[in-house]
């Protein structure tokens, strides 16, 4: 079966050099999910120095051809100006991309996840005014991702007994069975997470821990490198932006 896809909306998740002048690109598209393709000659520069390399975090209209897993990208037209993320915004963007890259299977469409991703990227804004995603937004993305993959959190009842979750109860959460009586989380926290009410710091911390456990379970031993990088970055002093070079040589 030869695929011929025209004008599909999508984003670049990651690219790496391929052969002399091409790139191997991993795309996240609206109707075809994650797609891997070869983008020919994108590492060459035209005579005027223009680069045709795709940028991540920017929406494109993509066309590709090919049979089998590896497609050939034949056209990519940017649908918006390039988004050059900096500092925290950049690290949170990399985190979203790596989550999709590691967890979404190739050629499985996830339009809900796509629209959540698009919406979050839209909130970054442009240039120096770009804002990082806050914790609640990152948790929201993780929950949509798990829902879409069929691994959604079950937070209204206990996993094994099916008993309704009580605000006054104490629970543990297991990725494969759900909430069980325990001591890690309060029922109140779990119900707040289920309702998407992440305003309270304790609820946010619980959601972070809970989602991390579940995501790690589904990563099946794979490492999320951007998570460690993001944490190291935040541990350093991040108070001031990088000044552009002003010193004369």
């Amino acid at each position: 079966m030869v695929d011929r896809v025209e004008g599909e909306a999508g984003y670049l998740l990651h690219s790496r050099p391929y052969r002399e002048s091409s790139q191997l690109v991993d795309l996240f598209t609206l109707n075809h999910g994650r797609v891997r393709a070869v983008a020919k000659a994108t590492r060459q520069r035209s005579k005027r120095g223009a680069s045709s390399a795709l940028l991540p975090f920017c929406c494109y209209q993509l066309s590709w051809r090919g049979r089998g897993e590896l497609k050939s990208l034949v056209r990519a037209e940017a649908l918006e100006p390039g988004r050059f993320l900096r500092e925290q915004a950049l690290f949170s963007g990399l985190y979203l991309n790596e989550l999709i890259f590691r967890l979404v299977h190739e050629h499985d469409p996830h339009p809900q996840l796509y629209s959540c991703y698009q919406q979050l990227l839209g909130q970054f804004g442009y240039g120096a005014a770009a804002q990082p995603l806050d914790e609640a937004q990152l948790r929201q993305f993780e929950m949509v991702l798990l829902d879409e993959l069929g691994y959604g959190l079950v937070l209204d009842c206990e996993g094994v007994s099916g008993k309704p979750l009580l605000a006054a109860g104490r629970y543990d959460y297991r990725a494969d069975t759900g909430a069980v009586p325990g001591r890690h989380f309060s029922g109140e926290q779990l119900l707040a997470i289920a309702a998407g009410e992440l305003q309270q710091p304790q609820v946010r911390a619980a959601a972070k821990q809970l989602l991390r456990t579940v995501i790690d379970f589904h990563l099946d031993g794979k490492t999320l490198h951007s998570r460690a990088l993001y944490r190291h970055y935040l541990d350093s002093d991040t108070a001031q932006p990088i000044p552009f070079a002003q010193r004369q040589p």
């Binding site: 998740l13 990651h14 790496r16 002399e20 991993d26 035209s46 005027r48 120095g49 223009a50 680069s51 045709s52 390399a53 940028l55 991540p56 975090f57 940017a78 100006p81 390039g82 050059f84 993320l85 900096r86 500092e87 950049l90 690290f91 990399l94 991309n97 790596e98 890259f101 442009y126 240039g127 120096a128 490492t223 999320l224 490198h225 951007s226 460690a228 990088l229 190291h232 970055y233 350093s236 002093d237 991040t238 108070a239 001031q240 990088i242 000044p243 552009f244 070079a245 002003q246 010193r247 040589p249």
Partner: protein
């Protein structure tokens, strides 16, 4: 097809960038038919280089011996440290001239999806350098790709934590560039990172 030695040579030649099966075969036959002296010299120089070329203990660039010529040049200032991704980038800046500090060569860039983290690009060595107090200013000359930017922002946060001043080389419109011919990404970045004059 030609016998084990020629087949082995053809396979070996394909390690070179841009050399596919066809070119490898052409090169192998050409060397054996017409230039055996050249082939012997190529083989000897490869063995010699692989044996003698290592990484500079101070800046990690390719060099023969313990320290490279830049790091051992007493006229150059160790207080300024320019961070580049590859020895080729170092070479490009040296060719352009005007810089008289030291370098640190990452031999790559951070790329979470490829599993390349701070250790893989020698950042513990860089952090030890920063902590030693010998560096006053760090100049980030990583590539203008998302990986290069990630690397720059990451190193910059570590440098600030160590109290070292950091700058990033400017990027935007090329010298002599006419705006109407510049690709839209470059122009849009130039707009987004504009500065007061």
């Amino acid at each position: 097809m030609y016998g084990p030695s020629i087949d082995r040579l053809i396979t070996a030649l394909r390690v070179m960038p841009g050399i596919g099966a066809k070119s490898a075969q052409r090169i192998a036959l050409q060397l054996l038919e017409r230039n055996r002296d050249g082939a012997a010299e190529l083989a000897a120089s490869l063995i010699d280089a692989v044996d003698k070329v290592g990484n500079c203990s101070s800046c990690r660039t390719l060099c023969e011996g313990e320290r490279c010529t830049i790091c051992s040049d007493s006229r150059r200032s160790a207080q300024q440290l320019c961070i580049v991704e590859t020895p080729a980038d170092l070479f490009a800046i040296e060719q352009a001239g005007g810089y008289s500090g030291h370098y640190f060569v990452l031999m790559g860039h951070l790329s979470p999806i490829d599993g390349i983290g701070p250790e893989e690009i020698g950042l513990p060595i860089l952090e030890a350098k920063l902590a030693s107090g010998e560096v006053d200013e760090l100049i980030l000359a990583t590539n203008l790709t998302v990986e290069g930017e990630t690397t720059a922002h990451y190193i910059s946060s570590r440098a600030r934590a160590a109290g070292v001043a950091v700058s990033r080389i400017a990027h935007g419109v090329p010298l002599g560039g006419e705006l109407e011919y510049i690709d839209s990404n470059t122009l849009s970045l130039a707009m987004q990172s504009r500065k007061v004059i």
